[in-house]
């Protein structure tokens, strides 16, 4: 390796389709010209740019990118890894989860806790005979790093992160620890999706993305 003593002009690749429209920046590695030394050209250009931007935004709101949360919510993508949900089986509406604890093992932050129990009346579906179900399925959303490894790990497609819910919030730690079964006392009147089961019994509360998925089969 030897020091490069000069600058070789770079136009980018020969194919104009893949070339970038930016100028060659290394050509700026030269001393300031006399006009530039007087501060004036750059100032005038800068003021013109900011003034132009100001006028465009002030009069026509042309470039404003702010969205007024919470009146305007951001559209999340299909693949957004948001809050989890446990899916249901088409046959009987029960949870698809068989408490195999694969997600618990796959989770890097150990935030899923499952206690399995026997399904006393084993469910025989078209494909299999199901003997287990989760007695409790808890995800501590304060520990979750939203990596999606639990979704990859599940052999039953029982857990998904496609609710599109960006944040799980609460005033106390217990509120962000989501449980399969509701707590003994009824939930306080808060945002309806908080304090919910990881199932969604109420269609009206289903996020838009979810409704699309329910139309498909697994």
């Amino acid at each position: 390796m030897h020091a490069n003593t000069g600058h070789t002009q770079s136009d980018g690749p020969k194919d104009t389709q893949t070339r970038s429209s930016l100028p060659d920046f290394m050509a700026e590695n030269r001393p300031l010209s006399l006009a530039e030394k007087l501060y004036v050209p750059a100032m005038a250009r800068g003021l013109a740019m900011t003034f132009g931007r100001f006028m465009a935004n002030f009069l026509f709101k042309r470039h404003i990118v702010t969205s007024s949360y919470p009146e305007q919510r951001r559209e999340v993508s299909d693949r957004w890894r948001g809050r989890h949900r446990l899916t249901r089986r088409a046959e009987d509406g029960g949870l698809a989860c068989v408490a195999c604890k694969m997600c618990e093992m796959a989770c890097p932050s150990h935030c899923i806790t499952i206690v399995a129990e026997e399904r006393t009346l084993p469910l025989v579906t078209s494909r299999q005979r199901i003997d287990k179900r989760p007695r409790s399925f808890t995800i501590d959303m304060a520990r979750c790093i939203y990596c999606g490894l639990c979704v990859e790990a599940c052999p039953e497609d029982a857990i998904r992160m496609d609710t599109g819910i960006i944040a799980t919030v609460g005033y106390q730690r217990a509120e962000v620890c989501l449980d399969r079964n509701n707590l003994a006392k009824p939930p306080p009147p808060m945002h309806p999706l908080l304090h919910q089961d990881l199932r969604y019994p109420d269609d009206a509360l289903l996020p838009r993305i979810l409704r699309r998925y329910l139309g498909k089969d697994r």
């Binding site: 980018g12 020969k14 389709q17 930016l22 290394m26 030394k37 990118v65 694969m102 990859e152 790990a153």
Partner: protein
């Protein structure tokens, strides 16, 4: 301090009364000298770093960075996680260019396993690495501009960065902590409108970068702040272990994409910018030029993504497709074994480095044959840059600290792991 003074659980003693003793080799204050500390909670110290400066008037005589405020025990934690579970942790090293970290780690493990990733995944990885490079440079330039007082340049570049974060969200489901690569390939395929979205991101980036360039580069105030400050010559830089834009800004043409090509870099047409003076202005220009080159690289890869599988078709390395898991017993057995046991990486050690936006990001992995790594060591490029900060700041002024610190692009997550 909890408990009583003679409580055996206390691991360290209370600090002694009075001022702490001077560090070794530190002379007592001279006539016009002042000891001042920048940080750790300081707007210009990205991440959290404390800089202890000894100044005489305005010029710096001695500088000592104190790190460790963000140490999270990443390397130790990874020793207790299976190989795939380490990937979200690796995301959080250089958190502004997470795709680069993911892919680098996966490539190292794949080298140890001796597998070759399918061509489609290789192309996607190249594209994502360059996207990570663009995002990192936008962040670095934006933050440096803001610290120099050009607030508008910062926000315009952040706008361009937002587009890339939307793209990453569409691709893998998260903006910053992407977790977008697995050992054996890519788990996520292209989505509808992929090409259009990448093209839109590139266009916005070029637009905003051009605006910021017009606003700043030939502005004498900006130029004077950066030109001649934070100077380091090529030999000292090499001795200190600098890599990436810091080394190239000093004139040494070393880029791992050209020197030790990986992924598709030996087949792509790009130019590596090299500076002349080794000061902050050269590094600024090098980063701008790298954005330009990365934009062209992304376009080249975008038009040439081959068809094919995304993951290696070996059930011992990548998770079997879900249809096999749901319907076949071997599928579910392989799935179970891979998830509970982890990848059976043969015992041994391996070091692989990629050209991250900050420099040479290397992973040194030691395996004992089990499903969890025995040792994960990340070579953080920022560490050497921060260690070289005293050399760069010799004789400079306090105001130059901010400019220089911004141009080394020290990322706390990577520095302190």
């Amino acid at each position: 301090m909890s408990g009583r003074k003679d409580d055996p659980r206390r691991l360290w003693s209370d600090p002694p009364a009075g001022p702490p003793p001077l560090a070794e080799g530190l002379k007592p204050l001279g006539h016009d000298e002042l000891d001042i500390e920048l940080g750790p909670a300081h707007p210009a110290m990205h991440g959290i770093v404390k800089l202890k400066l000894r100044v005489e008037g305005e010029s710096i005589i001695r500088c000592e960075p104190e790190v460790g405020y963000l140490h999270r025990g990443f390397e130790k934690t990874c020793e207790h996680r299976r190989w795939t579970q380490c990937i979200p942790y690796v995301d959080r090293l250089n958190y502004v260019s997470a795709p680069v970290n993911d892919i680098a780690f996966c490539m190292t493990v794949e080298d140890m396993l001796g597998v070759a990733v399918p061509a489609r995944a290789v192309a996607l990885r190249t594209l994502l690495m360059e996207a990570g490079r663009i995002v990192d440079h936008l962040t670095c330039l934006g933050a440096s501009a803001m610290e120099l007082g050009a607030f508008t340049a910062f926000l315009w570049l952040m706008q361009a960065r937002e587009e890339w974060y939307f793209f990453l969200e569409h691709y893998c489901g998260a903006r910053i902590t992407t977790n977008l690569s697995r050992i054996g390939g890519q788990p996520y395929d292209l989505f509808t409108g992929f090409e259009a979205e990448v093209e839109a991101c590139l266009k916005k980036t070029e637009d905003m970068v051009f605006k910021v360039h017009k606003l700043s580069t030939r502005n004498r105030i900006f130029h004077d702040r950066l030109r001649g400050t934070g100077v380091i010559d090529a030999d000292t830089a090499l001795d200190l272990g600098f890599t990436g834009p810091l080394l190239r800004g000093s004139g040494l043409d070393l880029d791992l994409r050209k020197a030790r090509p990986y992924l598709l870099y030996d087949k792509l047409d790009f130019h590596v910018p090299v500076g002349l003076h080794g000061d902050n202005y050269d590094r600024y220009l090098v980063r701008l030029e790298e954005i330009r080159q990365s934009a062209s690289l992304v376009r080249q890869v975008l038009h040439a993504i081959p068809e094919g599988p995304l993951m290696v078709e070996d059930p011992h390395i990548s998770l079997v497709p879900k249809t096999a898991v749901y319907n076949h017993i071997e599928g579910i057995i392989h799935h179970f074994k891979l998830l509970t046991g982890g990848h059976a990486v043969p015992a041994g050690h391996w070091y692989k480095a990629v050209e991250a936006p900050n420099g040479e990001l290397g992973f040194y992995l030691v395996s004992d044959g089990g499903g969890m790594p025995y040792r994960v060591r990340a070579r953080p490029p920022s560490l050497y840059a921060t260690a070289g900060l005293p050399e760069m700041l010799k004789g400079q002024m306090i105001a130059d600290v901010v400019a220089t610190f911004g141009s080394i692009n020290m990322i706390g997550g990577e520095l302190e792991r």
